[in-house]
């Protein structure tokens, strides 16, 4: 169907987003057209502001604003001797919500995947090595990458690379999710949980 040109263009813009098909894009565009001018301005400004102000933290490659390091790297409450390596900023937010981890992060921005043309050089690995050499206080690295094929390969690659540099390298354990039922757990997870069982104390 033919709409007026600005609307067609708006729909096209929405379609660029992941998970948005033709129908959803159309719905979003129509929805926004019904908004107040003020609301629209606020929306557009947020978008511009986010794009202008946000940059990567030069230490950990988390999002940061104001030109300097991010609020985690600059916090005095964080344990500067432990670095948790993650694939994306989204995972950082998830881990932060647990309040379990008090150290610093390092965001790789992806996982090794030759099929997609992503090698170690395309990730923030050189930057990690550089960071480790500058901060001798770092004595533990936690590899918190997902147990997919690419996550495993990246974990293996980093383990080999970091072994000579860092005393303690750990990775997250596999197993039962909290609040789950053993009966409802899939067999593979359960098998992994058995492999990783530990002694009661």
């Amino acid at each position: 169907m033919d709409y007026v040109l600005p609307l067609t263009e708006l729909i096209e813009q929405f379609r660029k987003l992941p998970g948005i098909g033709a129908k959803s894009a159309q719905r979003l565009a129509f929805q926004m057209l019904s908004w107040d001018k003020k609301e629209i301005e606020k929306f557009a400004n947020s978008l511009l502001k986010a794009s202008n102000d946000i940059h990567y933290c030069p230490e950990c490659f988390n999002f940061s604003t104001g030109g300097g390091v991010c609020n985690i790297c600059s916090s005095s409450k964080r344990d500067k001797s432990t670095v948790c390596i993650i694939a994306s900023v989204r995972e950082l937010a998830t881990i932060e919500r647990t309040h379990e981890f008090k150290g610093l992060y390092h965001v790789l921005h992806g996982l090794i995947s030759p099929m997609d043309g992503i090698g170690p050089d395309n990730l923030k690995i050189k930057e990690l090595l550089n960071r480790l050499s500058r901060h001798s206080e770092i004595n533990e690295v936690i590899l918190a990458l997902s147990p997919s094929t690419e996550g495993e390969a990246t974990t293996l690659y980093l383990t080999r690379l970091l072994k000579p540099l860092i005393k303690k390298i750990t990775r997250l354990s596999f197993g039962l999710s909290v609040g789950s039922d053993i009966e409802q757990t899939d067999e593979l997870t359960l098998a992994k949980a058995f492999e990783g069982r530990r002694e009661c104390i």
Partner: protein, 371 residues
């Protein structure tokens, strides 16, 4: 425990154009009869499409979309799986797939594979390829069979194949001169480890599989070829010799680096395994007659049936395509002796000859000619 396909409705599937192609099925024997090119095999293909374990499933989407005059088809099936009624609706278009099982949407059939009917097909023309064809055909048969028997095997296979694809992509960057040899050798390490970790499981499972079950294959063969003196055997031929642990596999992957780099592909490993089938110490693939090859492939399929039955506690659906045309009477009789007494069997044939010892209430005849 049981599995029964109660009904299936086809829309635009192969030659079943338009709506109104619905079939209800008997719980024991379903004979599908009619002249050539009326759609007997297509009906079996439809059953195969919504099931796990059928032959040629990998290529099926391609073939289907090429043949379909409309740009989409749909299949709706009602079946009883482990005393649960299931409704599977799947409509497949060129760009869009809609899969719904018991009202829940899935992205693909492989996502709900645990709840699909298990099926074993014997097509006399294609099934013989397990015996006669490339090693890949035999690996596929073993992989399919083991996937149902061992969940860890299914997972290891998936992970192995993914890592293999990644490793090959990495090797290709050298051929395309995007990366230096040194870089590749540095970056290939994690893939070697990943392949060894899952490859060792595949290798050991395949070895055990042959050790444990080759006797039953031999006995099946001798039942089917009751009048012959053939001495069949089955042996595992791993691509990597003399290693049975992760470190051993890793070493062999590493030893392959040189040649892998030249060819831009992983030359050796469990993805190149073979299963050697012989008769009187001669390879069936090269030296046996067509009748012997057919007997061997049937014996393998019957082994799969026996193992799945034991594992699942019920019989998978059995699809026999045009077997009467290719098997002689004594072999047909032997085949019937293997058929499950409590399972469902679909048989296509051009003309119904004497039904071997099946009582009237145990079968149904679908005559496609009269539809």
């Amino acid at each position: 425990m049981s599995l029964f396909l109660n009904s299936i409705s086809l829309l635009n599937f192969r030659n079943y154009l338009g709506a109104g192609n619905s079939f209800n099925f008997h719980k024991k024997f379903v004979f599908i009869i009619g002249p050539n090119a009326i759609g007997k095999t297509n009906l079996l293909e439809a059953i195969q499409y919504i099931s796990f374990g059928g032959e040629g499933n990998k290529e099926r989407e391609k073939i289907l979309s090429k043949n379909a005059e409309q740009n989409f088809f749909s299949i709706e099936a009602n079946y009883e799986l482990e005393s649960r009624d299931c409704t599977l609706e799947c409509s497949i278009g060129e760009t869009k797939k809609n899969i719904k099982l018991n009202g829940v949407n899935y992205r693909s059939l492989s996502q709900c594979i645990d709840n699909l009917p298990k099926v074993i097909t014997f097509k006399s023309k294609e099934s013989i390829e397990i015996v006669r064809g490339s090693p890949q055909k035999r690996r596929e048969w073993v992989d399919t069979t083991l996937t149902v028997l061992d969940l860890k095997y299914a997972n290891a296979l998936k992970r192995y194949n993914k890592a293999l694809e990644q490793r090959n992509s990495l090797l290709k960057t050298f051929i395309q001169q995007k990366k230096s040899k040194q870089t590749i050798l540095h970056e290939i390490d994690p893939w070697d480890i990943e392949l060894s970790k899952y490859g060792v499981y595949l290798q050991n499972s395949r070895k055990q599989f042959v050790e444990k079950h080759s006797a039953q294959y031999i006995s099946n063969y001798q039942i089917i070829a009751s009048d012959s003196e053939d001495k069949p055997s089955m042996n595992y031929q791993p691509s990597f010799y003399g290693c049975s642990d992760e470190m051993g596999l890793l070493r062999q992957f590493q030893e392959g680096h040189h040649i892998d780099l030249i060819r831009g592909i992983t030359n050796k490993g469990p993805h190149r395994d073979d299963f050697l089938l012989t008769l009187d110490d001669q390879e069936i693939r090269h030296f046996a007659s067509q009748g012997q090859q057919r007997t061997s492939s049937l014996a393998l399929k019957m082994l799969q049936l026996q193992l799945w039955q034991e594992q699942l506690g019920y019989s998978p659906l059995l699809l026999l395509d045009d077997v009467a045309a290719e098997l002689d009477l004594s072999r047909q009789k032997a085949l019937f002796s293997f058929l499950p007494t409590n399972g469902q069997v679909f048989i296509t044939t051009t003309h119904l000859v004497n039904l071997p010892l099946i009582s009237k209430e145990d079968y149904q005849i679908i005559n496609l000619n009269k539809m």
